[in-house]
């Protein structure tokens, strides 16, 4: 049909005005452009920062990439830091894709990690069962820790957002307390080390390393598999379909017959379980003991990482890897230049910022604007002649 129906035209129009892709219609090719541009832009701004700090920006950038990718050991370090991003990011995706605000990833990670740490050295079992028991303990601890806010949401209608944030602090100091006063008996360890940590886990509870000489563990593979599985769940299964629909419009899902309360419980606890598991894998895979407050900023960064991936499991894999490279690059930067890791931290945040930009939409907007300007010119001339 040469002449488009008015509805068709409006539809096109609306599509252009709001290009934010829904989960199902996400266009991956534009994602690649977005990530690349975000990396380049954040590095450009980062260079200014390096310059201001009195370092050669090109050299600093080089060092950063070298630290992240130059050799197998550095890649291992990158992988090590990408791993918690992957798994905790998955926990965020699970909750947020359905619109449930589990801000308590950090707390759930901590209790999960402590559970795995304790099981790791107190229980003696053959390798595989011991590992599985550690994971189970970690996951259950995380899920239980998510249970409280879920119940408070359901029965008292208290925002899960607030409760989970508060529980993060309780977890941070609670685990600290348990480790220092109960497990360590209130004294620093007999070696005089300052760290508040549990005893090393038994060798049977350690995960295999991926790259020798680094702390990159098989947890990375687990994270990859987990996200691919999530992707399949969201794309192919009924429960995934319902989870996505709830997240995009809960009222409509309810009217359609989805048991929103049940799904809320399942999804929230599942998110807590995965977060706890992430903590457990940090202990079994990288640290090999529970270290008080080990996640540091990670508990917050994962929200940004997952958001930058727009809660898409596959995109999350890429962003986590970029994140890991930057993190490991920042450590290298600190070692060989006068810069601190905080400079890279700023670049990481800039990256998140630039990833959020809708470049395709921007491009479209400016193209439209230029076209209007072009169209206006001849019109103005005609007006003058008349």
């Amino acid at each position: 049909m040469a002449h488009k129906s008015s509805e068709g035209r409006i539809k096109e129009l609306a599509g252009r005005l709001r290009p934010g892709p829904g989960f199902w219609t996400l266009q991956r090719h534009s994602n690649a452009v977005r990530y690349l541009l975000a990396v380049v832009l954040s590095l450009l701004v980062g260079c200014l920062l390096f310059l201001q700090q009195g370092e050669n920006p090109l050299y600093a950038t080089y060092v950063m990439f070298q630290g992240g990718l130059a050799n197998i050991v550095n890649i291992g370090t990158s992988i090590r830091w990408a791993t918690p991003c992957l798994i905790a990011g998955a926990a965020v995706v699970i909750a947020f894709l359905s619109g449930f605000q589990n801000m308590g990833i950090e707390g759930q990670m901590l209790v999960g990690a402590l559970a795995a740490g304790i099981v790791g050295y107190k229980v003696s079992l053959p390798h595989i069962p011991h590992l599985l028991l550690c994971f189970l303990a970690a996951g259950l601890a995380g899920a239980l820790y998510a249970l409280l806010p879920a119940l408070m949401r359901l029965y008292l209608n208290i925002s899960e957002l607030l409760v989970t944030i508060m529980l993060n602090f309780i977890a941070e100091f609670g685990t600290y307390y348990i480790v220092y006063w109960i497990l360590m008996g209130g004294t620093r360890s007999n070696t005089g080390a300052a760290a508040i940590k549990t005893e090393d886990i038994l060798e049977s509870a350690e995960m295999g390393t991926l790259i020798k000489g680094t702390t990159a563990s098989t947890a990375f593979l687990f994270g990859l598999i987990l996200l691919v599985v999530l992707q399949v769940v969201y794309k192919r299964t009924v429960i995934g379909y319902e989870a996505v629909q709830i997240g995009q419009n809960m009222e409509y899902a309810r009217a359609g017959g989805v048991n929103v309360v049940k799904r809320f419980f399942q999804i929230f606890l599942c998110s807590g379980f995965v977060a706890g598991l992430c903590g457990g894998m940090e202990v079994c895979g990288s640290y090999h003991y529970f270290l008080a407050n080990f996640p540091g900023n990670l508990g917050w960064e994962v929200f940004m990482v997952a958001n930058a991936a727009r809660y898409d499991p596959i995109a999350l894999i890429f962003i986590s890897c970029i994140w890991g490279v930057m993190k490991s690059g920042s450590l290298q930067l600190e070692r060989v230049t006068t810069l601190t890791r905080y400079s890279v931290n700023i670049i990481q945040m800039l990256f998140i910022l630039f990833v959020a930009v809708d470049y395709v939409g921007l491009y479209q907007k400016y193209k439209d604007r230029a076209r209007v300007r072009r169209e206006k010119k001849p019109a103005a001339k005609e007006g003058n002649q008349a």
Binding site: S6, R9, K11, G15, V238, N249, A255, V258, K376
Partner: protein, 510 residues
Amino acid sequence: MTEYALTMTGIRKTFGSLVANDDVDLYVRLGTIHAVIGENGAGKSTLMSILSGVQRADRGTISLGGRPVEIRSPTDAVAHGIGMVYQEFMQYPGLTVLDNILMGYEQKKGPFIDRRGARKRLGEICRKYCFQIPLDSPVEKLPVALLQQVEIVKVLYRDARILILDEPTSVLTPQGIEGLFEALRNLKAQGKTILIITHKLKEVLSIADDITVLKDGRVTGRLTAAEADEPMLARLMVGRDVMLQADKLPCHPGEELLRVENLAVKDTVGVERVKRVNLTVRAGEIVGICGIAGSGENELVAAIVGLADAEKGSRILLKGEDITALSVADRRARGMGYVPQDRNRMGVNRQGSLWETTLMGHHIASGLFRQPLINKKEARSFSQDVVRNFGVKAQSINDRVGALSGGNVQKLVVGREFSDHYQLMVMEDPTRGIDIGAIEFIWKEIIRYAADGAGVLLVSHELNEVMQLSDRILVMHNGSLLELENGRDLTEKEIGLYMLGGAEYGSQVQ
């Protein structure tokens, strides 16, 4: 010589390759009520957003009182005396009416807000135009009709000389509409110029002086209300003859499908909104319930479909089976479909694709949800059937629902529910805020659906719709249901009295 308050000439607005307004001319005489009508997607909204500064035209001129002006932003529009009353009210819950009106245009005394001065001015405005609004009550406590008046007072407070009302009657009851028209006539009498965007022809003819008809971005008619009639306007809007009367098929009621006994429902704050009502729906009949907004009709429907809990002692039976305690999913699986009132909030997922939205509910009714994996093939073919059979204008079932026009979204929801072989269909306002072409289509579908042997419970705020379609008419008033024995013979006004005053008031009719 006629004096024009507003002229728009040669307005053209394109979005990429599509032309939303194509050489549109609009002449609005000073001190008149001018209606701009057209189907959804005809370009009314674009034209108005150009006038109110939200969008800028590619070409064309706007003159106010004969002087060409340039409107670059909404603030510009306000400064030029153009006041927009939107379909969705822009009000902040938690603030009082007064503060909502002042928001953004606060009268100041030094660094402070001069509430006393503002109150005085608002009092004058209300007196002058005969509005009665409680300035100090929080906005969320106000009924819809009053909220709309608040919006009108707000633009008057901003010294609007030209008022634009976007679909002002879509949220109102017949009585509320009368009240609004009264207010508009008052405004007109005081010299204001009013522009109404609508697609309801009856109302256009009763209130407007001049009419401009838009279709596909072009003006297809420019006439005075005196020389226009409904079929003529409909033809100009749609481009063909349109049914304005439903061709109701004779009804042969069969077995009883739904029986509601002694139903009571409380709302979230514990007020009893439905007070022990009884109701039956048989196979093949359309039972219409009308009532003014807030008379308990929403709670009644919510309880029937399973979205709200019924109080103790209530019984809801579907085909003889007690379903009072069952979930929405169980009721769907047993053959109860539901077209919710607010399609965007409860009917569809605007961010998702067409097929996702059509799958919702169907995946339960068809038993698909019992399998762990989505049967994509089935889901897609079901979705394609809905889109094809119900004339949803979309390029593919992967399109975003949010990109569809209101009428098409509604067709999608109705189509989804009607394609599922439910025996009982509960519908709330199935044609709210959509254009005549789509209304005609959906009415036909409802009639055919009932004729095929299903029962339909139709709850609508559109009295005309209930009267056109129903075999039996029930009036909901203050939580009670009243069956009108001779409902189909009553006039709109008479039923309106029942809606307002219940049985006692309504009995004066006979």
